[in-house]
Symmetry: C2
Subunit: 525 residues, 2 copies
């Protein structure tokens, strides 16, 4: 996940002074020095740079700090600056999420993070989900509008971000962007029509380097943008970036990486092979389907503890605020605690006797009061319905079945995994213990679970800090075998078996004790 040695994209070169004996042009002289430094036989120099090159080289006594970049083994000069300049050349890493966009400004000399900003994807005004946006893109000037929204918001945020560290957008020479396939298509202004229609064909898998200017991104006019490649409509560059960030692609130990968003995306493998698949386990886990569901953020319940004896609830909301909803990880915690304290049974059904006064039944749908009106931020009871629990159980079963299927494809089982990465916002908040308790994740040691945080942004940052990473991205992409999840009889059998808490086969979850037999309470911090 980290580099031992900083090996960035900035190369400072000193050129031989021009003479009648050595009257090579400025550009070819610079290229000669860079080719030697980079051990390559060609480097492309943009016209924008050529236009300033003679003055700059002479002002800087024929030395130059060069920001280079590479794609498919082809080097390109993305900018030159004064080697004596104290302002560092900057790079920008971006995680282009459907909901949130995070930008991170990097000092390309040191690899240090200069500043970070995160903002709502302005395309939400068109539609919360990708599907709505893809349909909108098909309308007159729809794609153009989606493209302008995203590019405009990036431009505004780069400008603000630069201001906070006394930089100008012109100081940004490299950009790396990881996002799902639809988002990167919107960013490039590419047609998304066929992304969502069988056989789900993107316009491009490996965009490689594109000039920022051609994309309308206002940074240095010669700046280059690297967009992480995707494997298909449903397996985006954000996950490739996540794999890079996890380091699983360089480890001999077989690891698994899950990223739960709109879909549950799973990667399994090591330095020799990688298998990936994606399945529709996401929405319920991300709490999108729960009436009181919300994204992880201030006021969202992220941790729940229920005393198995007194059945007293301890609720924690992000920011220590009165709760106003529940996020995905909170929901998993809640259901795990409901099970461990006997408020739901192994089928996930609310148990009237143990729920007591928290049990409500309106218009046929049973509900449980999680936070009574007087303690909630909304002034109303925050409740979870039987249907909410059912859909969570379906989702966790799908997740576990995906894990069983992907490990089985190489003759392994989820329990054999020694390293289990959980990526994304969901991963940052999840309590792996709870996820194990409900049988969503395999019953392996707590130390095996490693949360990666924003791995998409992490991978995009790595690319800006490490020359070798760029080749590794192609290597990852080429090494991945995509496993189509055939929803066949075997898959359905596995799914049915997983639709219990923790599982019909309790031997798979030995650490999950039967409710009420021991003190299982988790104490909220």
């Amino acid at each position: 996940m980290k580099n031992d040695k900083y090996k960035g994209w900035v190369k400072t070169v000193s050129l031989a002074l021009p003479s009648l004996q050595d009257n090579t042009s400025d550009a070819d002289r610079l290229a000669r020095a860079l080719k030697k430094e980079l051990k390559t036989d060609f480097i492309k120099i943009d016209l924008e740079i050529l236009r300033h090159l003679p003055n700059f080289l002479r002002k800087w006594d024929f030395t130059a700090r060069c920001v280079v970049f590479k794609n498919h083994g082809q080097w390109i000069l993305a900018g030159i600056c004064d080697p004596r300049e104290t302002t560092p050349p900057a790079g920008m890493a971006a995680d282009l999420g459907t909901t949130r966009i995070v930008l991170r400004l990097i000092n390309l000399l040191s690899g240090k993070i200069l500043a970070e900003s995160s903002f709502d994807n302005p395309q939400i005004s068109i539609g919360q989900d990708i599907l709505t946006r893809v349909h909108f893109a098909d309308t007159d000037k729809g794609l153009e509008k989606l493209n302008h929204l995203i590019v405009g918001s990036i431009n505004r945020n780069i400008e603000d971000l630069c201001k906070t560290c006394n930089l100008k957008p012109e100081h940004v020479y490299l950009i790396s962007i990881a996002g799902n396939t639809a988002m990167t298509h919107f960013l490039m202004g590419l047609d998304t029509h066929w992304l969502i229609r069988e056989p789900y064909i993107p316009v491009i898998n490996s965009p490689g380097l594109i000039k920022a200017k051609a994309m309308g991104i206002k940074v240095n006019p010669a700046a280059q943008v690297m967009i992480f490649p995707n494997i298909g409509s449903y397996f985006g560059g954000d996950l490739i970036s996540g794999i890079l960030f996890s380091g699983m692609n360089q480890s001999e130990e077989t690891a698994i990486l899950i990223d739960v968003g709109t879909n549950a995306e799973v990667v399994f493998g090591n330095s020799n092979w990688l298998i990936a698949c994606a399945g529709a386990a996401g929405p319920a886990l991300e709490s999108g389907v729960t009436r009181m569901g919300m994204m992880a953020g201030p006021g969202a319940i992220d941790r729940v503890a229920i005393d198995p004896v007194t059945r007293k609830f301890q609720i924690h909301a992000i920011g220590n605020m009165p709760p106003k909803g529940i996020c995905g990880s909170g929901l998993i915690d809640l259901v795990a605690q409901l099970f461990l304290s006997g408020l739901i049974d192994i089928r996930g059904k609310l148990v009237l006797e143990t729920c007591g006064s928290r049990f409500l039944k309106k218009s046929g749908n049973a509900r449980l009061i999680v936070v009574p009106a007087e303690k909630s931020a909304t002034g109303k009871d925050l409740t979870i319905s039987q249907a909410d629990i059912d859909s969570l159980i379906k989702a966790k079963a799908a997740m576990y079945t995906i894990l069983e299927t992907i490990t089985a494809s190489v003759g392994m089982a989820p329990q054999d995994i020694k390293i289990f990465y959980i990526a994304g916002t969901f991963g940052s908040f999840i309590n792996p213990g709870s996820a194990v308790s409900i049988g969503m994740l395999p019953d392996i040691s707590a130390e095996s679970y490693k949360t990666l945080g924003n791995s998409s942004l992490g991978g995009a940052t790595m690319v800006l800090n490490c020359c070798d990473c760029i080749d590794e991205i192609d290597a990852i992409r080429n090494r991945i075998t995509y496993l189509e999840l055939n929803v066949n009889q075997e898959f359905m059998n596995r799914l049915s078996a997983a639709e219990f808490i923790p599982h019909t086969d309790t031997r798979l979850f030995r650490s999950v004790k039967n409710p009420g037999t021991e003190d299982q309470a988790l104490v909220c911090p």
Copy 2:
């Protein structure tokens, strides 16, 4: 000079149809087919093309006519079009002269010339010669103005040229441009300040491919421009293009190529080696210094015959019009005939007795009436002065000395040359016999002299018609040894010896008879 087999840049490919089993993106699918066709492992596809790719591929049933281009072994897709389209994709070759610009539209499917246009370089309004323009470029917005003049005129002429063959500028996908180093710099908007100052450093030697759009050239938005590389300030891409056009770079027979413009540029070599040099022999030969001098064009005297017995002049002007001036080749003819008919002596001095009534002497400068007022287009006598003749003799001596020096560098003499290419407008009009008579060119068989016409445009055209030529350009550039003309004692001795007609050593010019001994008259056609 010609290809046996047409091997152009247009490749029509049929793609495998997308399916769930083969859900590669449109761009990667197209790249896969092209990589196979081109036997390469990478081809860059521009964002402009990606934006239309999904619709086009589906409209064209997953076939596409692709216009590709290459630089330093790196392939790029410059455009795609409907394989069923009857309008051919077009290319444009340009000869970017200091004085004239010639554009040629090519059918990229067949290699055939569609149309051609030639117009004055609009930068003449800034200055006739390059030096004046370079100084102007240093003034405020000077470079920008020079750049806009040239780009604007090219855009207007492309549009007009396209109209004449029912094309639109969008149908132009490839452009190849050959010009001297200063002109290509102006075209790219690059600083020319250091071009004319010791040690004469261009901004770039090998510009490679640049997007037409980035240069402001209005053709297809994805079109690529190839600018011929230069060797230095005084050895431009026009000459590299000329070498390519002559084919001397691929012949075992050692040949010489001269291009007389502002400078006399000389290339000597074969398929194994090439030596080049440039010397200031040009202006006098191009007739720029003669009072009655003019560019080859309607009304310019291009051929002269003088009866050695009657000393009657036969004058031919281009377009069979009354003469209004004399072009470079006409001047050489005139001086050769003056010598052969005894009107000037071996030092080039006017002989009073033989000149008779044509001899004038005003204010110390002797003159000879070439065309009397009543026969000239100007209504005034067209005369040549002793000073004009002196400067032509200096120039022809310089030319011959350069030829002696360059051949001597490999132990040969000008007389050893079997193939002698003469390029440029000058070359199209020159009578090699006359040039031999005055001792400017070596006394070798008339069949050895081959005029190439506009070889710069010819080479630029070849690049559009032949994939292999692009690598040959780099090969030529890398193979050329540039010979600095050291104006040392040996050079000065050679120059002095050459300042006679035809030479002090008449054994070198055995075919040139002493004046008056035989009928040497050339009859004008």
